[in-house]
């Protein structure tokens, strides 16, 4: 776990970078067994088409560049791609957008990802406090985090009862528990994720500054959760 994650982190540091692109961040998360979609990094449109066929359409393209951390601002994400023709078109489009946004952008490749079934959105994050060390954050995604700031923190290492308390502490908890006739969300999967993130942070605390898993889709009870986007910032 730790060795694999450190290899990726050291690789990034060796290039003089402090932040991991989504693809790299997800490699680190994968090393700790966090739930991730089957995704591949393509260096050419042809390669992307090959991967898209393996994954199955519709797919998503996300351009990976260390200079572009806000992918939607730079319009380098293309969703719901139905076939090879559309993929080629979008491939050109996101590269063009990247050049416009940051002419000097170094492009590491394009992440080919499946279109995920939408779930309830949550955010899991990490920050470092100067006195108490690293803390994990949990909250509901979208407006809940943006506007209501309905989040809760716990200091690493986190025990299972703390992870459950985090989920139940947020005001939006009824949304996860199943409000308005909805089925309850897979909270066990979330607890498992929080504990894995805690372990990851505990191992890598000398390197990690901040981390966002945002959004994470959580599905109905028994159906798990999936990290859609991830960002890691190093010290």
């Amino acid at each position: 776990m730790k060795e694999e994650a450190l290899e990726i982190i050291n690789g990034v540091l060796a290039k003089g970078r402090k932040s991991l692109v989504e693809y790299e961040a997800k490699q680190v998360l994968k090393a700790y067994g966090l739930p991730l979609p089957e995704e591949k990094l393509a260096k050419s449109a042809d390669e992307a088409i090959k991967y898209a066929e393996e994954i199955g359409y519709p797919v998503v393209l996300k351009l990976m560049s260390p200079q572009i951390l806000h992918k939607s601002d730079a319009r380098v994400v293309a969703l719901k791609i139905k076939d090879a023709d559309e993929l080629r078109k979008k491939w050109e489009e996101i590269h063009e957008n990247a050049r416009k946004y940051r002419p000097d952008a170094e492009i590491l490749g394009v992440l080919v990802a499946p279109m995920l079934k939408p779930g309830r959105e949550v955010i899991i994050g990490v920050t470092e406090d100067p006195q108490f060390g690293h803390a994990v954050m949990f909250g509901l995604g979208g407006i809940f985090v943006e506007i209501l700031k309905d989040v809760t923190f716990r200091i690493v290492p986190i025990e299972e009862k703390d992870a459950w308390a985090m989920i139940k502490n947020i005001k939006g908890y009824p949304i996860l528990a199943g409000a308005r006739g909805e089925e309850p969300a897979d909270m066990k999967a979330l607890v498992d994720m929080i504990l894995k993130v805690s372990k990851l942070v505990d191992d890598l605390k000398d390197y990690l500054k901040e981390m966002d898993l945002n959004p994470v889709f959580v599905y109905n009870e028994g159906e798990g959760a999936m990290i859609v986007d991830a960002r890691i910032i190093l010290k």
Binding site: I123, G125, T127, D129, R154, A165, M211, D212, I233
Partner: protein
């Protein structure tokens, strides 16, 4: 819902519960089995020194060194302070019949504590004298160190180095130090005629701020809140919150610890000590102070959302520390811990002689995440049989304005025996005409004593009410001015009981 008390979604109550029993039996089971850490011995001379050297003692009225000397002298005359007093001052030979020593090196061998109030620039050298003398506990009242720039910080480093090399523990600098009513240690330099001292009790109070310490002690004296020990540590050069929490675990007189914190320097140490103490004694914290986060540009969502306040919230939740909204809240809850047993669950029963007050209490039950108890059929039947038709048997039970003490007694008896009630809030408007106040007080005291449920009282009113409230408190029942404050105190008991129960799982 009130942010401090978020009800956890779990099964509650449980009957057989070791931690709760520990609390109700005065922690003896748990604490007896714990190994005493070194800190207990190290801090002992701060609270019960055989002799105290007062460095900077003077006969000039109003001077810090004079007030501290007078405090010890007065407590010795009263027979509370049992140690010897050794004033130290280069320029004096005698103060009010006490021999004055030129240097701390000359004081007799039984001096175990030194209290320093001389100007900052003389403190580093004095520390070396103290080290030579072999005194291991020092309170530095003097200000003008780290809080005033680089030169002061350098002096602090020198002082700390001397301390570390010689195994000396320091409280302060820039503080009011120690107040221990049972042993007569009182380094609070605000004179008795300007600031009252609270009586002896079970609440320990730890504070960074000296001003807050003084204001709180004065107020606690007025409010009749008993203090076991007060420590104001100021710049926290050495002894900090974590050390004191470890000390209070083993302090038999302390039942509950209150902390006023501006900032924690060693986060890990704090977390570990907090976990140790909350497993046996409740800790209530009031946290203030701005953060360095404001200036920090965060590159992630999470970083942007993390304020020091949210992090402290996390620390308190994880370590079982109850967070107080304000000063009043802190001591309302502390008072409940000092006097009450821990509840088995979160179901509250309310007895009142005024309908409006009952509604206010019911609202507060919801606000603080508690539940209104559903009374058993036996309780309802019993009350209906004993009550006149216009009194209300229910929750709240309203004994109404023509009540006498006996009607209260029926209600309390029924609530105490009802397995569906975990905690009882009794609202007494002492003003009603037929109520014999002393009879009611005795009934309350009797049930608070024999029941294993927490019982708190609410008494709203003026001077006469205050008079009876005081008697009631002296008999071991916490009394609150409003239904909301009474219920909020119960919520604190419930929150801690839940924390303990989760620990036991």
């Amino acid at each position: 819902m009130h942010k401090t008390f978020i009800a956890l979604n779990r099964e509650f109550p449980s009957e057989n519960f070791q931690f709760r029993r520990n609390f109700n039996e005065g922690f003896k089971l748990k604490v007896m089995n714990m190994e005493k850490p070194r800190i207990v011995e190290e801090l002992k001379p701060f609270f019960e020194p055989k002799g105290v050297a007062i460095i900077g003692a003077t006969d000039k009225k109003g001077k810090v060194g004079n007030v501290i000397f007078e405090n010890f002298k007065m407590n010795k005359e009263k027979g509370i302070f049992k140690g010897n007093i050794y004033p130290v001052n280069l320029k004096l030979d005698e103060i009010e019949g006490y021999k004055v020593y030129k240097n701390v090196r000359e004081v007799p061998e039984d001096a175990e504590l030194a209290v320093i109030s001389i100007p900052a620039k003389f403190v580093p050298a004095t520390m070396k004298d103290i080290a030579e003398k072999g005194i291991k506990a020092v309170v530095i009242i003097t200000g003008g160190f780290g809080e005033l720039g680089e030169e002061g910080k350098k002096m602090e480093r020198d002082i700390l180095q001397t301390a570390k090399e010689n195994g000396i523990r320091i409280v302060g600098p820039n503080c009011v130090g120690i107040y221990a009513p049972d042993t007569g240690v009182d380094t609070v330099f605000l004179p008795e005629n300007k600031m009252d001292r609270p009586s002896s009790g079970n609440i320990a109070f730890v504070t960074q701020s000296g001003a807050f310490a003084a204001a709180m002690l004065d107020w606690a004296a007025m409010a009749g809140i008993g203090i076991s020990k007060m420590v104001s540590y100021g710049n926290k050069l050495d002894v900090d919150d974590a050390d004191l929490m470890d000390y209070f675990i083993h302090d038999e007189q302390t039942k509950v610890v209150t902390l006023y914190i501006e900032g924690v320097k060693e986060g890990r140490k704090f977390i570990e000590a907090a976990r140790r103490i909350t497993a046996v004694k409740p800790v209530i914290a009031l946290k203030s102070g701005k953060t360095e986060y404001g200036a920090k540009a965060a590159s992630s969502h999470t970083g942007a959302l993390a304020g020091a306040d949210t992090i402290y919230d996390a620390v308190f939740k994880q370590t079982g520390i109850l967070r107080a909204e304000d000063f009043e809240h802190m001591f309302d809850v502390a008072k409940a811990f000092a006097k009450c047993k821990l509840p088995k669950g979160d179901r509250v029963g309310i007895i009142t002689d005024g309908g409006g007050a009952g509604v206010m209490a019911s609202d507060a039950v919801a606000k603080f995440g508690l539940k209104m108890a559903e009374l058993s059929k036996e309780t309802i039947d019993f009350l209906k049989e004993k009550f006149p038709p216009h009194a209300v048997a229910g929750n709240p039970t309203d004994v109404v304005g023509d009540t006498d003490a006996q009607r209260y007694k029926y209600a309390i008896e029924a609530f105490v025996n009802d397995p569906n009630v975990d905690a009882i809030v009794i609202i007494t408007l002492f003003q009603v005409p037929l109520l014999d106040e002393m009879e009611l007080i005795d009934i309350l005291a009797e049930y608070a004593q024999k029941s294993d449920k927490p019982i708190v009282a609410v008494a709203m009113g003026g001077k006469k009410t205050e008079y009876y409230a005081k008697i009631l408190e002296d008999k071991g029942i916490p009394v609150y001015m409003t239904p909301e404050r009474g219920v909020r105190a119960v919520a604190g008991l419930v929150q801690y009981a839940k924390y303990l129960e989760k620990l036991g799982e």
